[in-house]
Amino acid sequence: MTNRPLALCVAALLTTLAAAPSWAQTSDQVSSVDIDFNSDLDQATSEDTEHTYTVNLEECLQLAQNDTFEFTWVFDSDPTSDQSYTLKVKRGSGSCNEDSLTSEDGESNCSLFRTAQNLGNATSNSTLVVEFSQGELFNVSDEASCSQLDGQTVTLTIVFTAFDDNSSTDDSSDSIDSDRITFAFETDRPSAPTNLSAVAGESSIQMGWDAETFDVDADFFVYVSSSVLVEGDTPPTGSLIASSQITGDRDSATITDDDLQANQTYYVAMTYRDTDLNESNLSEVVEVTTQSVTDFYEYYREVGGPDQGGFCSSAPASQGALWLLALIGALVLPRSRRKGGAR
C-alpha cells in the first residue's frame, strides 16, 4: 500500500519579499522564505501566500506525533550584524490578522501559537527548526481525535520579520513576509465493500464483491491471513499471507501467492480506500479452504502420459539424432565458410 506523502499537506512556502503582500514594508534583506514540515518528506514550493492542504486520516495520525517544521530564509545579500529576526506562528482564525502580527502594538492582541525572537547571528542562508510536542499542532492524539476534525479546517498564519536594530523605532525599515496555510481534514474512514465471496484453488483465491457504490477512481485491497480476521478491525499490517491492491476489474480479483498452501484454511477480508486515501475498516470476513489442484503435467502423468521430463532422452533414436546433427555440422560448416557471400 502506498502512502500519500505528508508533504502534500504541509510542504513549503516560497515567497520573495519582492513579491510580498502590499502590507510588507520593505524588502531589502530577505529574498525568499521556505517552510517545510517534516523535512524528511518531499518539499513542494509555491509563490502563493495562501495554501490549502487536505489531511487524511493517516496524515493526521502522523501529525499527532512529535513533529517539527523547518523554517529557512535566504537573504539577498550578506546580512549585517545589526539585523534581528522574529518568527511568529498563529493558529486559528479570529480578530488577530497578519497586520496585528506585524506590529508590536498589534502583537499584544494576538494569542500566538509559537514565537521565536532574536534568532541569533544570521548567515546568508539561515534555518530555524521549530519543534512541536505531541498533539500540539492540531490538538490530535489518536484516530478518534482525528475523526472529530473530519470536515473542519485549521489555519496557521506564519509571519517572518527582519528588524533593523539601528532603527527599532521605525517599523518602515523592517522586512516582513507572511503566509497562511489552511488544513482541510478529511479523516473519516469510508465504508467497506459488501457481499464478499471467495473461491479457493491451490495457490489462488478468487474474490468477488459489490462495487457499484464505490468511486471509480478509488482502490480496493484484499487481505489474506491464516489467523482470524475480524470484521470492523483496522486493516492489518503484519502476519499476513498476502495483501494486494486490486487493479483492473473492480468487482472481482484473483489473489495468487506461492505462500498459499493446499488444504489450509485462510481468512479473507477487503477494504476500500477512497480518493482522500482513507482506508475503510475490514469488511466481512470470508473463510476459505484451499484445495489440491492438478496442473497439466500432473494430469498428463496421472492419465498415463509417459514423459518423465528431462533434456537428454535415452531413446536410441534420439541418440542417433544427436549424431546426425553432429555429422551435418561437420559436413556443412567448413563448406559454409568457403562459400560465404555466394549469390
Binding site: 473461491v199 479457493a200 484453488g201 491451490e202 495457490s203 489462488s204 483465491i205 478468487q206 484473483t254 495468487t256 506461492d258 484445495q291 489440491s292 489442484v293 492438478t294 496442473d295 497439466f296 503435467y297 500432473e298 494430469y299 498428463y300 502423468r301 492419465v303 498415463g304 502420459g305 509417459p306 514423459d307 518423465q308 521430463g309 528431462g310 533434456f311 537428454c312 532422452s313 535415452s314 531413446a315 533414436a317 534420439s318 542417433g320 539424432a321 544427436l322 546426425l324 546433427l325 551435418i328 556443412v332 563448406r335 559454409s336 562459400k339 560465404g340 557471400g341 555466394a342 549469390r343
Partner: protein, 245 residues
C-alpha cells in the same frame, strides 16, 4: 464470392506474369544474396493426445481442442545458387497455451496451468526461384526438411510443475524431444508489386527480395517413435514474410 476471388487471383497472376523479373532486372545494382530470413505464424496443436486412446486426452481436457498461436523465425543460408537455391537453415519457434488445473473431483480449478514449447529446427531447404529469376514469374515453391528438438515445460503458480512418480521420484515437467519435420510452401515475390521500392530497399538495407508465403508444415516430434516421450508434432499451415539478402 468464390468466383470474385478467383477473378482477382487471375488478374493478379496475369499482372505479375507480364511484369519483368523484378529484383533481377538490374544486375549491376543488386547486392549479393547469401540467404533468407523468414518470420511465420499459424495455429499449432501439439499431438500430445494422440498417445491416449479413447475419450478426451489430457491436452484437450486442460487447454481445449483449438490450436495456439505459433511463431517462428528461421534463416536459410544458401550453399548453392543455380537452378534454384539450396541451403542449410535453422529456426526457433514459440508456442504457449494456458488452461485451468483440475480439482480432485475433475472440475475446473481457478488455478492456471501453462504449457510452453520452443521448437528448434535444423534443416536443409531448396527454393525453386529459377522461374522468378529468369522469367519474372513471382512465385517460388520451396521445400525443406530437417531435424527438430522441441523444448517444452509446464508451469503453474509454484513454478515448473513436478510429479511424484510410482518409483517415488520427482519428475519435472520440462524437457526436450527430438523429431523431424518437412515443409512445402509457396512464396510470392513482393518486389513485383513495387519495383522502385524494392530497389531502394536493396540499396539502403541490403534486402534484395521480399516474399509473402504460405507453407504446410508436417512435424513428427516424439523422439523418433519413442514410447517414453511426449508427442509435440503437428500438421499446420503457416504464413509469413521472408527477406532475401
Amino acid at each position: 464470392m468464390k468466383t470474385a476471388a478467383t477473378r482477382i487471383s487471375l488478374v493478379a497472376l496475369i499482372v505479375t506474369l507480364v511484369t519483368p523479373a523484378l529484383g533481377y532486372s538490374d544486375e549491376g545494382v543488386e547486392t549479393p544474396i547469401s540467404g533468407q530470413l523468414g518470420f511465420k505464424f499459424g495455429s499449432y496443436l501439439p499431438e500430445v493426445d494422440e498417445q491416449f486412446s479413447g475419450g478426451t486426452g489430457p491436452y484437450q481436457t486442460i487447454f481445449g481442442s483449438g490450436g495456439s498461436l505459433y511463431f517462428e523465425a528461421s534463416y536459410l543460408h544458401y550453399l548453392y545458387r543455380g537452378v534454384g537455391a539450396l541451403g542449410i537453415g535453422f529456426g526457433v519457434g514459440y508456442m504457449g497455451n494456458s488452461g485451468k488445473g483440475r480439482l480432485a473431483d475433475g472440475t475446473e480449478s481457478i488455478d492456471e496451468t501453462r504449457f510452453r514449447m520452443v521448437p528448434l529446427r535444423l534443416f536443409v531447404g531448396y527454393r525453386f526461384d529459377f522461374l522468378a529469376r529468369q522469367f519474372g514469374i513471382p512465385l517460388v515453391p520451396y521445400v525443406d526438411a530437417g531435424i527438430d528438438y522441441h523444448i517444452w515445460w509446464v508451469k503453474s503458480e509454484g513454478g515448473v510443475s513436478t510429479y511424484l512418480d510410482n518409483d517415488g521420484e520427482i519428475d519435472r515437467g520440462a524437457g526436450g524431444v527430438f523429431g523431424w519435420h518437412t515443409a512445402l510452401g509457396l512464396q510470392f515475390l513482393l518486389d513485383s508489386l513495387a519495383d522502385q521500392m524494392s530497389r531502394s530497399l536493396d540499396a539502403n538495407t541490403g534486402i534484395n527480395n521480399s516474399y509473402l508465403f504460405a507453407e504446410f508444415l508436417l512435424a513428427d516430434v516424439d523422439d523418433f517413435g519413442s514410447d517414453e516421450s511426449i508427442r509435440l508434432g503437428d500438421s499446420a499451415f503457416l504464413f509469413g514474410l521472408a527477406f532475401e539478402f
